[in-house]
Symmetry: D2
Subunit: 353 residues, 4 copies
């Protein structure tokens, strides 16, 4: 606590999600006026680097010297009175650090994939090892999948929130209302054809993120093997035979559009489907149900909204759902802040509009 | 004929497909050395406009004054000894002009949708009216769907070739080998999730083709209603309940990538699927079968190739096919030239490599 | 006034600057809680259209039905208690409407070019005609060029503020400190090589704004003739022989980067130049002086900052200045709000950070 | 020699210029029918890798197994009868290998910067060291700057051609005609504001070539320090005080547009300037003089043309020249082939149209 207000820290602020998180936390009305503690790898044994040397766009006209990225220590968190920890760290690091953080009384939103998956076999894709498997198993049980629209109540009480994957968020929100209604014939198979901007591939310069590869191109990858598949199976209670998820790399900086194909047991009208979505998301400020006008990617980019629209086949038995969000906001940093809001009993959309 | 060589004409040269056609015909080794007759709307009552005023990229260092776009008349075609007519015209115009062209002894490749569809109900989306319905019906019967990989022999003898739609080409080539093998359980539904660059939307400036709408965006459109659906149904002999086709607008100038989902009656191995494609396309120089390495859009853009790769689900019952081509080449002008090559008994890939 | 708070109206909300203005005004903390009056061309004789039908990105999860675009009438402004009018209208319309608005006691920020230029010969490029030339001449005298960094005090008292051109803002802010210091040898000529994103070309679909023209391209236009030249001459007190301004169209949605070349009478050090900028902008919250680290376009896009950096030649006699801003914010809507803030005595950056 | 025809080799085929060179040589009508020898770094001790594993777009429908990239040895060149060597290698490597290649009787076009600069001080930016400085100095004297439009006759007889830099080509071709005419007042300073696509930054994934940095951005770099400056000084016989060259990174894959500003001693008419260009380039098939219609980047991308247009100030004393080319073709691989054509007495544009 700082001046009676919540103090936050971000570990791994130098990535794209970290930067968005920094921007959101700096403008959040409920947090301490002292800036959050931003940590990350600092070279050359220096005490800190100016945050704006990494992200010049965050500077004010005085160069925002008060914003620093420091090397991580538990001691700093304690000294600064940190209550709430955001981990924008690699999966292995998150798996290893979360138990310590919880032990020290911190509440945690972890943006990695380390704590999202309850089933050991689903988690296997991350090749995680636990120093204390028993403790890890306990924490895994306690961990809440941080999709507010599904687990609002549990998130409010959670010590550890596993922030969902960006693709997973876009697909689960689109499918859950229909599947929960019992309308979807999952045996006929659900197809999730998803397309993401390049920021989803991370900040490391690679052959894949090179402008010459990504620009004027489109490519499918990770067909049948992408790591977000496990989240779909667990959150939608599907069998792996029932869903195909194909991610594609779009030549744009940010945004995910998922085109999703389902079959219904019984014919439905557009009005019925529309009602289903509106009812499910009636109390969800961060989902915009578009009805039969399908959303475009641009509408939700740089917002924390997930936009969902659909079209029905003439016989009412097939439904094409289009779901859009910003992979760095509703798909990462924005959702992390939404989770924090719930954890502290604030308005779910605080600092996100 | 001109100097014992075939003379061609392009009607509607001012569009994107027209320009690519002009480029290809100007470099084609089997055609008359006199440039093709290029026609289009010329304003101000002028006799012609320099073609390079429309497409400066086509000029040589002397400004290529010999390349002209002239107003269309049947007389010009006669005077210049035109044998082979390419129509890059609106659907209605193609429907109306083709009978006259055939009557005058011309061979025709029509790039519009006017003559592609045998079934009246499929053709209804184009809202065509025929001055002489009986004659039109005869010609429709005679018209050959210009997909060389399916109808090579018929094209060779055709007077009227209906050049396929760009989306249709990418999807039909990907599906035909598997469907023809009898492997595909069409009852489970085939999903075609296709993405196209902006040139597919035409040269007219519209809200949809505005840079601000197309850039940094992705949008689905024409779900369940796109006009190329009829081509899929007829060429793949599918029922409309068996296939969903969803086009999307990509923020790139050219190229189509289709991601296609099928279920097999019986499990298949990757080797079997690979053999199926290689066998089907063994004599097709313009298809590249990629096996289980899925192609990216960049590989085929600015070529006349259709690239096809696939991935199988672990149980061998689901198959994801990725098909890529350049919508202006294999999806339009290049395929038109490929059809001309077949019509005159030349090497199918002449002038296209 | 509305509830003791200022009420605003935007005429011409349907364009890009209008949309940004709407977004900024809706979140501005000093304005009436009733939404501003948004007006624009409404078809079909309807009373209004939902604003979110034009800009779906502005909707909240209930579809923001309270946001409407209505046909303009003076009466609506009166009924709603409008104090402050933003004109995002064509030049001719602004020229014609401003006198009426002033007469009715409104304060006006005009985003067009109609009132920016004091010299008749400079204004000639807009081909404006005045119904009451005498009254227009008076108002022109009274009109304040709305660049806060130069005319803060006058803006505070103004009834009519002429919001500067986007290119002009980026160039004048970069040059004014050096020219005002008397350092610049204007006889040697000042070169302004400016590059703008496509939103600067407006929302109307044209050959120039077609994705196929703008994407993967760069083009110079309006060399020696661009309309913003007059603003440079008047605000920098230059002769037309002393400055060349060349705009280019960049393949990006938004942002202007100007590269500016000046010669100094006497050699200067980087420290001197740096001090000059910092001193000039010491009280300007919306300019970030970067020193010898030149800014990139990305840093200021989607902010209201103008970023300015420079590099000196080894002999200290030549200076290359790089100036960046978002053409829709600091180059249009953001600057308009900044002007409103000054007009009402609020913090200049209110609602803009 | 191979079958009485010239045999070529490319060292460093795996980069962007290497790939374009491969594509051009494979289609060149004057070369041996056996493919060129392509060499580059091959991992894992393998004998070769399929060239199409690097560049899938180069494959034919059989996968082009005859195209291989092999590890470089002098012996391979000898065995395959290589006459003509293209070095698409780092500067240091080119500096070191060229003497050996010349000794072995090969003719060389070097695409690096190693042999372009006659003046030791200009060459210093490359930090080259010579094993045999005397021999290197001799070769440097013998080396011909490979800009055909300036040095056609010397190139024809050269053993060693130093292929120009991409920026340098675009600027020198634009300025040489005017400077050679004695019209340009160089004391007033020449400004070269150049903008390049990302392929100019090379294939290595770096922070600068990351899609997220390059897309939706524009940035100036290397102001007063870019390595191509020396080429401008030497080829245009300018003093470093007389020219400023500012490169920028454009958010497009390929192409350079240079906007160049000069002052004339005496006023000139557009007709005079136009004649000057047409006369200078009368026998240059790869330059298109556009007169007062300034070229756009798109016109020359994917061609080997350099397009040059200009605009004069009203008083005829200032001239803005716009010069466009494809940095990988006229700026690298295409120009290398053009040089080869001259070296063997073929038509200069052979294989380039």
């Amino acid at each position: 606590m700082k001046d009676g207000k919540i103090q936050t820290a971000v570990v791994g602020v130098s990535g794209y999600a970290g930067m968005e998180l920094a921007r959101l936390l700096l403008h959040h009305p409920r947090l301490a006026t002292t800036p959050p503690v931003f940590t990350g790898r600092v070279e050359d044994g220096r005490d800190s680097v100016p945050l704006v040397s990494l992200f010049p766009q965050l500077a004010d006209n005085h160069g925002s010297p008060e914003l620093k990225m420091e090397p991580f220590t538990w001691q700093i968190l304690e000294e600064r009175g940190v209550d709430m920890l955001f981990l924008a760290t690699p999966h292995e690091q998150s798996r290893s650090w979360v138990p310590q953080a919880i032990e020290r009384g911190l509440r945690v939103v972890d943006l990695s994939g380390a704590w999202r998956l309850a089933e050991t076999e689903n988690r296997a894709v991350y090749k995680l090892t636990d120093e204390d498997p028993e403790r890890a198993a306990e924490l895994q049980m306690e961990s809440v999948y941080g999709l507010p629209e599904l687990h609002r109540a549990k998130i409010a009480k959670a010590r550890l929130v596993a922030n969902p994957g960006c693709y997973a968020t876009s697909i689960i929100l689109a499918l859950k209302p229909l599947i929960a209604s019992g309308w979807v014939n999952t045996e006929r198979g659900i197809i999730c054809d998803a397309k993401s901007g390049v920021s989803g591939a991370g900040k490391a310069p690679t052959a894949k993120t090179h402008f010459m590869h990504a620009a004027d191109n489109l490519s499918a990858y990770g067909i049948f093997t992408h790591r977000h598949l496990g989240e779909l199976l667990e959150q939608l209670e599907l069998d792996s035979d029932e869903v195909i998820f194909t991610p594609h790399l779009l030549p744009i900086p940010r945004g995910i559009l998922s085109t999703i194909y389902v079959s219904f047991w019984e014919p439905k009208t557009a009005a019925e489907v529309n009602r289903c979505y509106h009812k499910f998301f009636a109390r969800s400020p961060m989902v915009r149900a578009f009805g039969t006008q399908v959303p475009q990617l641009q509408y939700s980019v740089r917002t924390n909204y997930c936009d969902i629209g659909f079209q029905l086949s003439p016989n009412g038995r097939r439904c094409v759902i289009v779901s859009c969000l910003d992979n760095l906001l509703k798909g990462a940093a924005g959702q992390a802040v939404q989770n924090m809001n719930l954890m502290y009993g604030w308005n779910e959309a605080e600092g996100l509009l």
